[in-house]
Amino acid sequence: MKSNPEIETVSGFEGGNVISIRDLYKSFGDLHVLRGVNLEVEKGQNVVVLGRSGTGKSVLIKIISGLLKPDRGSVKVLGQEVGDLDEKELRELRKRIGFSFQNSALYDSMTVRENLEFPLVRNVSNLSRKEINSSVEEVLESVGLLSAINQSPAELSGGQRKRIGIARTLIMNPEIMLYDEPTAGLDPTTCIEINQLINEVKEKYNTSSILITHDLTCAKMTGDRLAMLLDGKFVQQGTFEEVFSSDDERIKSFYDYNFTENQV
């Protein structure tokens, strides 16, 4: 069954949605990146946002996390309108959101342990050294990198950096995870490991997620629902099969390009 994204997002808007985006616009000067985006993420759901480079996928999750402000439109995260929050309220909301960056964004001047402790000690008061250590070790164990605890980010491989980046967000027990190109620049085996980790995180931490990617393997493995962003709008939403059975030439060419690229 093919779905109409615009109708689907409007129906059942509030109930059980951890993220609700309605009529979102964002421009940078004359460049109109998002032109009326609508999206909903239900609790416990992994939504994959697909699209070509430069279509505003990363801009979308930066708006959700409050790093960018939209030109107009509504962005509700965990029932709160992000644009209406003051600095303190936004910080409180961000404690409940995990953001995994495309290049991991680990703090170069700190070890893996310090990277993980950094948000924890600043956001949770009255933690003993023992509690901090056990939280760090537990979360590192869940991403399979306990052995890297005293290494610096420069000593880690790309896949390990991704895992540590995810671990750093998990230490705050987020309710929502935002992944920006989680498999970009990784070899196929590591990509699959990261995809498995994303699914494990969803199960273990009971998170709802938005994944930004143009990797169809990642989309198929991790997405409960896919949303195809083209020309600043979601042109199709649904399961993997629903989205790619579309007659839209742009979606077909996106699929073909990925398929050809993977074959090469």
Partner: protein, 307 residues
């Protein structure tokens, strides 16, 4: 309250831009107020003037916007300084990086400056048979002017560029964004700590530089005039007043604040990848040196009113 503040900022920006260029103002209304948008939206404000063919207006736009951005950065520093839990550990770490690690360079430069200044001054004083005035002359020059100036210029190069490059690379690799989304205040952790560290460290380094410079001078004096250290320092401090010490301290505090603030401002607002990091480091040094010389003139002028 947060919104009220944003409105106030908007009002100021509007005034700045309306003075500069009507078309720049029109673009401003379209542009977003969020800090992260600025690197992308500001060039359009400037380009609009360019397309209009008003070269002067474009440059006035740029200068006024730079002034405005700099001013809001300073205001934000003082707001964050007194808000929330201080990052003592990071301040100590930065003091170590900025102060302690500059000691070898400051020692060498200060010592050589004192020695060379004494050597260069001797022939002139000898003409009047006044070589006994050497310690006083050198101490006045070093304490009043040379020590704060040399220390700050060296620090502008070593520390300013380092802060600009470090924060710039953190900005372009999204480490600052990562702090922000982790519900940590990156401005407080990165900017406030570094500015406090430079404001504390530069005065200490400055007085240390003065001491080392006088030791360099003493070495030259003792080799030529065969004086002892007590006589040298007694003679050196005879002409030094509290006003000299205070003005040197005020200068060093101002220079330290300037170096930290400029380095952080340039690094924190870096954009355009690695090229932007290089530009941030470079402009941090150039701008802080330029401001240090302006402050030097201003502080000397004010100090002279009290003499």
């Amino acid at each position: 309250m947060g919104h009220q503040h944003v409105h106030d900022e908007n009002a100021t920006r509007k005034i700045c831009l309306s003075i500069a260029s009507p078309k720049g103002l029109a673009h401003y209304f379209i542009a977003n107020t969020n800090r992260n948008d600025q690197p992308k939206s500001l060039p359009n404000i400037r380009m609009s003037s360019s397309s209009k063919g008003t070269f002067i207006s474009k440059n006035i736009d740029a200068v006024l916007l730079d002034f405005y951005e700099g001013w809001t950065f300073i205001v934000k520093f003082f707001r964050e300084l007194f808000r929330g839990r201080p990052e003592f550990q990071e301040i100590i770490k930065q003091c170590y990086q900025i102060g302690y690690k500059s000691l070898p360079l400051i020692s060498l430069t200060g010592f050589i400056t004192g020695m060379v200044f004494t050597k260069q001054s001797r022939p002139s004083l000898m003409e009047f048979g006044a070589t006994s005035w050497l310690p006083s002359l050198v101490s006045i020059a070093i304490v009043r002017a040379l020590a704060p100036l040399i220390t700050s210029l060296i620090s502008a190069g070593r520390v300013g560029s380092s802060i600009g490059a470090e924060l710039g690379s953190m900005r372009v690799t999204e480490q600052i964004d990562a702090m922000e989304v982790s519900a940590v205040n990156p401005f407080k952790f990165l900017v406030v700590t570094r500015v406090i560290a430079t404001t504390i460290s530069i005065p200490i380094l400055s007085f240390y530089c003065a001491f080392v410079g006088l030791m360099g001078s003493f070495l030259d004096v003792t080799l030529n005039e065969e004086t002892n250290i007590i006589a040298f320092f007694k003679s050196a401090f005879e002409q030094i007043t509290f006003l000299d010490i205070n003005s040197a301290l005020i200068k060093a505090l101002a220079y330290g604040f300037t170096i930290g603030m400029v380095g952080c401002y340039k690094g924190y607002n870096a954009s355009n990848g690695t090229q932007g990091v290089g530009r941030a480091a470079n402009s941090a040094v150039v701008l802080s040196m330029f401001l240090i010389f302006i402050e030097e003139v201003a502080i000397v002028q004010v100090t002279n009113w009290f003499r």
